[in-house]
């Protein structure tokens, strides 16, 4: 018997560079790295807050340092990518059926951006007013 199926191996470490849709995917996957670091910074900030005004000030200074600033710009970018890519797929993961038809995906996505705006505004006001 002369069957001899040929298996093409996919590169385990660089497959995501082979197509633009995989690049997009990996881009939103790596947002978690920045999100994780930012969360750690926040937790650290809470510690410093408990340790008194100087410690807190030190933390604030850290935010202000060039490294801190650069990191936050990056983190903001990736957070936005995360938000955008997350909202984009909500209609796939959660279909809402009204009668026979489904609520159009764009409406669901739009609603999410609406809520995002409200939450952001609320937090900004809280921060500004408090």
């Amino acid at each position: 018997m002369s069957r001899k199926p040929y298996v093409r191996q996919m590169s385990k470490t660089s497959w995501f560079l082979t197509h633009s849709r995989y690049k997009h995917y990996i881009l939103h996957e790596v947002t978690c790295i920045f999100i994780a670091i930012y969360a750690v910074i926040l937790i650290f900030g809470l510690f410093r807050l408990g340790q008194g005004p100087e410690a807190w000030q030190g933390w604030l200074d850290g935010l202000r340092s060039p490294l801190g600033v650069i990191f936050q710009i990056l983190a903001f970018g990736f957070a936005m990518i995360h938000t955008w890519s997350w909202f984009k797929v909500v209609p796939q993961a959660m279909r809402i059926q009204r009668g026979e038809s489904f609520v159009p995906g764009n409406l669901i996505i739009g609603a999410h951006y609406g809520v995002l705006a409200i939450i952001s505004l609320f937090v900004l006001i809280l921060a500004g007013v408090a």
Binding site: R3, V7, R8, W15, H19, R21, Y25, P91, A93
Partner: protein
């Protein structure tokens, strides 16, 4: 009818002769309304009888003719040459072993399809004499999209998780399980859960979404899988609660 001369580069692999696949070019005069499959048929009839590929319906419904055209998984009968340049690259579907030329081995998929109990499991058998189960148009629509899969396997070709780990049950089979789970006449979700909610099932999917992007029938397997994750995860957690059955 106007024709355009196109170079079709086909990935050839003849197991009895070749150690590995190679590209072979054919010059094909294509009519403007041809699909890539027509060009392959031209090659087979006029240029090279030894080229092997699958096809049947020529109307994107039998699912035989999945190939990769210029890097993108496509149905050969739905890839119009007018949408491509003067050189078109045709390869077998990715992530499957190549049997020969454009023919890939799909036994693995067939086993997976069989493994998800893809048939109606009704609450109680109704006698034929009592007529049909009632199902409103809205209930029909709830699962209809997931019943449109033609098993063309473009989604498996596009899904990197399947490429990285072939034990993954994969998009089409999971979408089919979802199709029955969502059917108002069916109560078989538990029976399917063992495969569907296993490590190799929905949890192997990282929502790359490529499957839905290449699907020629708008089945949206990615959506089906995410929806299944939500219900399965809730099931899993509630099974630990008092009264939950594991």
């Amino acid at each position: 009818m106007s024709t355009r001369t196109i170079t079709i580069e086909v990935l050839r692999y003849r197991p009895e002769q070749d150690q590995e696949p190679f590209f072979q070019s054919y010059t094909v005069p294509c009519d403007e309304d041809w699909v890539v499959l027509d060009a392959l048929n031209y090659i087979k009839d006029e240029l090279d009888r030894t080229l092997s590929y699958r096809w049947s319906c020529h109307m994107f419904v039998c699912g035989s003719c999945g190939i990769v055209v210029d890097g993108e998984p496509k149905l050969g009968c739905k890839a119009f040459v007018k949408d491509y340049g003067d050189k078109i690259r045709v390869e077998p579907l990715g992530n499957f072993p190549i049997e020969r030329d454009l023919v890939v081995v799909i036994d693995d998929f067939i086993e997976k399809l069989e493994s998800v109990n893809p048939y109606l499991i009704p609450k109680e058998e109704k006698s034929i004499d009592d007529g049909e189960y009632l199902q409103t148009p809205a209930q029909l629509k709830a699962f209809k999209q997931y019943s449109m899969c033609i098993n063309c396997l473009l989604c498996y070709s596009a899904c990197p998780q399947y490429g990285l780990d072939p034990s993954f049950v994969g998009p089409a089979a999971l979408a089919l399980a979802h199709r029955y789970n969502m059917d108002s006449r069916d109560v078989g979700r538990k029976a399917r859960e063992d495969v569907v909610a296993s490590h190799e099932g929905i949890w192997e999917c990282s929502f790359v979404g490529a499957c839905s992007q290449v699907c020629p029938k708008d089945v949206d397997p990615a959506g089906a899988i995410q929806q299944t994750k939500i219900t399965s995860a809730i099931d899993y957690v509630t099974s630990f609660l008092p009264g939950g059955n594991r």
